[in-house]
Symmetry: C2
Subunit: 216 residues, 2 copies
């Protein structure tokens, strides 16, 4: 396939290095969402600074993002801790809002997504099946997030994506702690497979019906 003399087709890797605050933000966010930092856990700037070998500047900026995102709360001159959400608010505010965003995105999807996007989503389904077979809940819920993330990110403006992202992050953190209520992992895979099928067909009516039960 790759010919050493064929320099025409050679490509250097894209520089994937982002800013340090981006790195710090993602790192802390993942720790919270995946449950490694539980509600109430304290974030100390100097401690994180030493662990990541980064000055406090970028760390403070990352904390401001996380705070606005609603994953941590800062008490001026005192401390910043990981938040704890009330069940009621999760059910009445976060869940329906997320549903509405994903419905909106899914209905635009057929005219927005490219072949690459669909290939990516197909691949996620494949990996979901694998994760389900291996009873790997962590991986499955990770793929779940990535599936919807891709659709929303492509069908909605950056500002709106930020809102969806903050909501789904909080939900993910919440349900990981509570444990999935799904009857089986296989059901999760099936539901996503159907969803992707409906998006491809562009049948907005049935997309709405499907999302209605999917969320529950």
């Amino acid at each position: 396939m790759t010919n050493p003399n064929d320099l025409e087709n050679f490509q250097f890797k894209k520089n994937d290095t982002v800013s340090l605050r981006q790195f710090v933000y993602k790192e802390i966010r993942e720790a919270i969402i995946k449950g490694h930092l539980e509600p109430g856990a304290r974030l100390r700037e100097v401690e994180i600074s030493k662990q990541m070998n980064v000055s406090r500047g970028p760390i403070r900026e990352a904390i401001r993002i996380l705070e606005q995102e609603g994953l941590v709360i800062s008490h001026p001159y005192r401390e910043t801790v990981v938040v704890d959400l009330s069940e009621e608010e999760v059910i009445h505010l976060l869940v329906p809002t997320r549903r509405n965003f994903e419905l909106f995105a899914a209905q635009k999807a057929v005219s927005v997504l490219t072949d690459d996007d669909f290939a990516y989503l197909d691949n996620i389904i494949l990996n979901m099946q694998e994760a389900s077979n291996q009873d790997d809940l962590d991986r499955l819920s990770d793929l779940d997030l990535k599936f919807h993330e891709r659709i929303v990110e492509r069908c909605v403006s950056p500002a709106m994506f930020r809102i969806w992202n903050s909501i789904s992050g909080k939900l993910h953190a919440r349900f990981l702690i509570q444990g999935y209520s799904h009857s089986s992992l296989q059901t999760v895979v099936e539901e996503h497979r159907e969803m992707l099928q409906l998006i491809r067909s562009g049948d907005n009516e049935r997309i709405e019906q499907h999302l209605q039960k999917h969320i529950k």
Copy 2:
């Protein structure tokens, strides 16, 4: 009323000084929401730094908050500009989400709000009436925001309030530019008066009905 010898009742003013980032954040946010900074306007850290006489640290933190809030967008190493939202997203995502949040809050209000809160809200209605009489649209829409802000802030957790705040900020900025579609300023006042009445009565059924048409 105030007796110079009556030192018992003397109170110093609360130290209202917040952190600089808070100050900078509010300042920029207001400029955007009130339309003094239009979509596409560029934010230069050094420029703001000089104008406010504050170092770039707090300004950068404020920008991170505004970015996560969705009012500005930063392109790494390039620039940060005030965002522009699509009409479609405003209608399908922001408006229903805000409505849902305010419905949730209003339904809890009767058992949460104190006499002080109700006094505050009554006072806002009075001021609204004044603003309406004087055809002062700016002041009216400011009071409108403050009215709902108070209710939501008291009936919902800080993390949820942040979401509502980010949404209502974007809507405010949007509609200020487009101009109010209300038939008259007096209608706005009436609707809020009725709303407050319904909240006092705790009639959740009618609150829902009222909010339904209020938003439109």
